[in-house]
C-alpha cells in the first residue's frame, strides 16, 4: 500500500529525514516510536504533502502512485488522512461545513454524488455518538477554543467520516487522560479492516495497549534503526531510547 524508500527531507537547509524506509501492507498497523526531534512528525507532514518540507532524495509510492507528485488535497482524496499532532484552529469555519466540504470533495474525486445535508447529518450523528462527542461540536468553529482532548477526538471523528485507506496518527495520544485515550483507541480499532492501514506515531507505549500494532519501528535521527513486533514497544518502555 505504502512504500517509503530512502526518503531524505530537509527544512531550511537542515536535513531531518536521512534515508527513511518503511513498507506498509493493507490491513497492517505500524507504530513509529522515537525520541523528540527524531523526525516522526516530519514524516507525517511529508506524507500529507506539507510544502515547507523539501524532499531531496528518495521516493514514496502509495497504491502504485507517486505520492510526492500529488497535491495535499489529491492525497486526501486518494485515501491518506493525517490526524494532526496540533490540529489547526480555524475561527469562523464550522466543523460541519469543513467536514461536508471534505467528504464531498472526496466523493467528487471518485465520481460519486455529493451527500445531501440530511444524509450527512445522519452520518455525522452516528459517528459522534460512538465517540462520545457532543453534537454542538459540529456547529462550533474548527478546533477553535477546543480543549486538547476535544481536538484529538475531533481528528478521530474526521477520520471516521472520511474513511481513509491509510491513516497517519501523529501523537494523537499525547495529553489525553485515560478515558479519552480509550475513546480514541476505540475509534481507531472500530475502523480496522483488511483494506485499511494505520501508522501510529507515539512517544508512549501506553497507547499500544489499546491499539495493538503489527509492527513497531524505532526512529532515531531521521531514520528507522530497528523494527520488530509489538514486544519491541515493551523493550523500549523498559530501556528507553538510549541504546539506539
Amino acid at each position: 500500500m505504502l512504500e517509503v524508500k530512502n526518503l531524505h527531507v530537509q527544512v531550511d537547509d537542515k536535513e531531518i529525514l536521512k534515508g527513511m524506509n518503511i513498507t506498509v501492507a493493507p490491513g497492517e498497523v505500524h507504530s513509529i516510536m522515537g525520541p523528540n526531534g527524531s523526525g516522526k512528525s516530519t514524516l507525517a507532514q511529508v506524507l500529507a504533502g506539507k510544502e515547507t518540507y523539501e524532499v531531496t532524495e528518495g521516493e514514496v509510492t502509495f497504491q502504485g502512485k507517486d505520492l510526492l507528485d500529488l497535491e495535499p488535497e489529491e492525497r486526501a482524496c486518494e485515501g491518506i488522512f493525517l490526524a494532526f499532532q496540533y490540529p489547526v484552529e480555524i475561527p469562523g469555519v464550522a466543523n460541519t461545513y469543513l467536514l461536508r466540504e471534505a467528504l464531498n470533495a472526496k466523493r467528487e474525486y471518485r465520481d460519486e454524488k455529493p451527500l445531501k445535508h440530511i444524509e450527512f447529518a445522519k452520518l455525522a450523528r452516528e459517528k459522534m455518538k460512538a465517540l462520545g462527542i457532543d453534537e454542538d461540536l459540529l456547529k462550533r468553529s474548527v478546533n477553535a477554543g477546543f480543549s486538547g482532548g476535544e481536538k484529538k477526538r475531533n481528528e478521530i471523528f474526521q477520520m471516521q467520516i472520511l474513511e481513509p485507506t491509510l491513516a497517519v496518527l501523529d501523537e494523537t495520544d499525547s495529553g489525553l487522560d485515560i478515558d479519552a485515550l480509550k475513546i480514541v483507541a476505540n475509534g481507531v480499532n472500530s475502523m480496522k479492516d483488511s483494506g485499511r492501514s494505520f501508522i501510529v506515531i507515539t512517544h508512549y507505549q501506553r497507547l499500544l495497549n489499546y491499539i495493538v500494532p503489527d509492527f513497531v519501528h524505532v526512529m532515531v535521527d531521521g531514520k528507522i534503526v530497528r523494527s520488530g513486533g509489538k514486544e519491541l514497544a515493551y523493550e523500549l518502555e523498559e530501556k528507553g531510547y538510549a541504546g539506539f
Binding site: A48, F84, A102, A105, Y109
Partner: protein
C-alpha cells in the same frame, strides 16, 4: 450653463451663488443662509492635506486637481429595471431612489410607510415639514470643522428623509438607493440624508450607493441620524461606487438615552474612499455597534475614520472592522475613541483585522484613545496578515482544493462582520457579491 468647479478652494466658494441662482430659487431662506454659512466654513478650511493628522494616510491631490460639475440631465438614463437589479430579493421594503443626488419619484416606492411615518425626499420635507427639518438638519454634522461636510451642506440637492415618530416600531426597511450616471464629464454629487427615530421607536435604513457606469465623479455624502430615547436603529451603508469615483461620506449619529444603533458599512467601489462614522453617545445607557467590511483591489484607497464619542455614563460601544486588500490597494483604519470627562463606566472596544492578499497591498491601522475619565474600560486590537498557511494546509489535507480552501477562509473572515446584519436578504446579497469578488481575485492567479 453648467456649474463647474476646477478643484480650487476658490471655485467651490465662488460657484455657490450660481448654484443658488440656478436650482435653489424657491428654497426657504434658512436653507440659503445655511448654505452660505457652510461655504464660509469651507473657505476657511479648504481640502485637507497630508499634514492634517486626521488625513495623514490619504492624499487628496487628485481631487484638488480634478474638475467637477453639477449634474444637469435629471434622472434619465436610469430605468425601473436597472433599479430593480440593485434590490434585495424577497425583501419587503420601501424605496427612495436618487439619481446623481436628485430624487427620482417615479422610481421610488413609499406607499407603505404607514401612519405618521415619513419616508420622502429631503427637499420635499424641507417644503412640507420645514420646522421638523430645521430642528435637525446640519445640527450634528459640523460644517465649520469638516471640509466635506461644509461642501455637502452648501451644495446638497436632495437625499432621504426618514422620520419615525415616538413609539413606533417600523419593521420595514427603507432602501435608499443613490445611483450615479455618466453625463460625459465628472459630476459633483452631494447626497444629504436625515434620519430621525423617535423615542421608543425602531427603524432600519439601507443607504446604497451604486453607479450605472464606470465613470469618474465626486460623491460627497452626509447622513445625520437622531436616535431618540430608547430608540433602535439599524443602519447600512453599502458603497458600490464606480472604481474611478471619489467617495467621501460621513455618518453622524446623535444618540439619546438608552438608544441603540447598529451600523454596518460595506465598502467595495471607489478609487479614493473615506468613510467617516461618528456616533455621539449623548445619554446614559447608549449602545453603538459599528461593523465594517472593506474590500479593495487594483489601486483603490479606502480610508475608514471612526470617531466614537462617549459623552455620557454607562454607554457601550463596539467597533469591528475587517479589511481584505488585494493588488496595490491601500487601506486605512483610524479608530478614535473619545471618552468625555463625565462618561464614567464607559465600555468601549475596538477591533480591526486585515487580510492582505498580495505583497503590494498596504494597510495603516491606528487606534487612538482619548480618555478624560478614570472609570472606563477601553480596549483595542488590530491584526494584519496574509491568509493562514497552516489553516489552508489543514483544509487541503482533508481533501478540500486550494481554491476552495481559500474561499472558505475568506468567507469566514468576512462573515465576522456580515453575520451581524439582521436583514437576511441584504446579508445574502452581500455574501454573494463578496464571493464573486473573491472568485475573480483567485481567477487572476492572485490571492496567494
Amino acid at each position: 450653463m453648467a456649474i463647474v468647479f476646477d478643484g480650487t478652494r476658490e471655485s467651490y466658494v465662488e460657484r455657490l451663488s450660481e448654484f443658488l441662482d440656478s436650482g435653489q430659487k424657491d428654497a426657504p431662506e434658512w436653507i440659503t443662509t445655511l448654505r452660505r454659512e457652510a461655504i464660509s466654513g469651507f473657505a476657511k478650511l479648504g481640502f485637507p492635506t497630508l499634514s492634517d493628522e486626521e488625513w495623514r494616510f490619504t492624499n487628496l491631490e487628485v481631487l484638488r486637481r480634478g474638475s467637477f460639475s453639477i449634474a444637469e440631465n435629471g434622472i434619465s438614463g436610469v430605468s425601473k429595471k436597472s433599479v430593480d437589479s440593485y434590490g434585495f430579493p424577497g425583501l419587503d421594503c420601501l424605496r427612495l431612489v436618487f439619481v446623481n443626488g436628485r430624487f427620482a419619484s417615479s422610481l421610488s416606492d413609499t406607499r407603505d410607510a404607514g401612519k405618521e411615518i415619513l419616508v420622502k425626499s429631503l427637499s420635499e420635507a424641507i417644503c412640507e415639514q420645514g420646522d421638523l427639518v430645521k430642528d435637525h438638519l446640519a445640527r450634528y454634522a459640523d460644517y465649520e470643522k469638516d471640509a466635506f461636510i461644509s461642501l455637502n451642506t452648501s451644495y446638497f440637492e436632495d437625499g432621504a428623509f426618514v422620520y419615525v415618530p415616538d413609539g413606533t416600531v417600523f419593521e420595514k426597511p427603507v432602501h435608499v438607493l443613490h445611483v450615479s450616471t455618466d453625463e460625459g464629464h465628472p459630476l459633483f454629487i452631494n447626497p444629504r440624508n436625515l434620519i430621525i427615530v423617535g423615542q421608543n421607536s425602531v427603524a432600519k435604513v439601507i443607504e446604497h450607493y451604486v453607479s450605472a457606469s464606470q465613470s469618474v465623479y465626486f460623491s460627497n455624502v452626509v447622513t445625520e441620524v437622531v436616535c431618540g430615547e430608547n430608540a433602535n436603529l439599524e443602519h447600512y451603508r453599502l458603497e458600490f461606487e464606480s472604481q474611478k469615483a471619489f467617495n467621501f461620506s460621513t455618518l453622524r449619529v446623535n444618540q439619546q438615552k438608552n438608544s441603540n444603533i447598529a451600523s454596518h458599512s460595506v465598502l467595495c467601489g471607489g478609487a479614493i474612499v473615506r468613510n467617516n462614522v461618528h456616533p455621539v453617545l449623548g445619554g446614559e445607557g447608549c449602545n453603538s455597534d459599528i461593523y465594517g467590511l472593506f474590500i479593495s483591489e487594483g489601486r483603490q484607497h479606502m480610508d475608514n475614520f471612526m470617531r466614537v464619542e462617549h459623552a455620557s455614563p454607562h454607554c457601550d460601544s463596539r467597533q469591528f472592522y475587517n479589511g481584505v486588500l488585494d493588488g496595490r490597494s491601500k487601506g486605512v483604519f483610524h479608530g478614535r475613541i473619545l471618552v468625555h470627562e463625565g462618561a464614567e463606566k464607559t465600555d468601549a472596544k475596538q477591533t480591526n483585522r486585515n487580510l492582505l492578499l498580495s505583497d503590494t497591498a498596504q494597510i495603516d491601522t491606528k487606534p487612538q484613545l482619548e480618555i478624560y475619565n478614570d472609570d472606563v474600560k477601553c480596549t483595542h486590537g488590530a491584526t494584519i496578515g496574509q491568509m493562514d498557511e497552516e489553516a489552508l494546509f489543514y483544509l487541503r489535507s482533508r481533501g478540500v482544493s486550494m481554491r476552495q480552501a481559500k474561499i472558505i477562509m475568506l468567507q469566514a473572515f468576512t462573515a465576522e462582520t456580515l453575520e451581524h446584519m439582521s436583514i437576511d436578504s441584504v446579508r445574502e446579497v452581500l455574501e454573494g457579491v463578496v464571493m464573486k469578488w473573491f472568485e475573480q481575485r483567485l481567477q487572476n492567479g492572485k490571492g496567494k
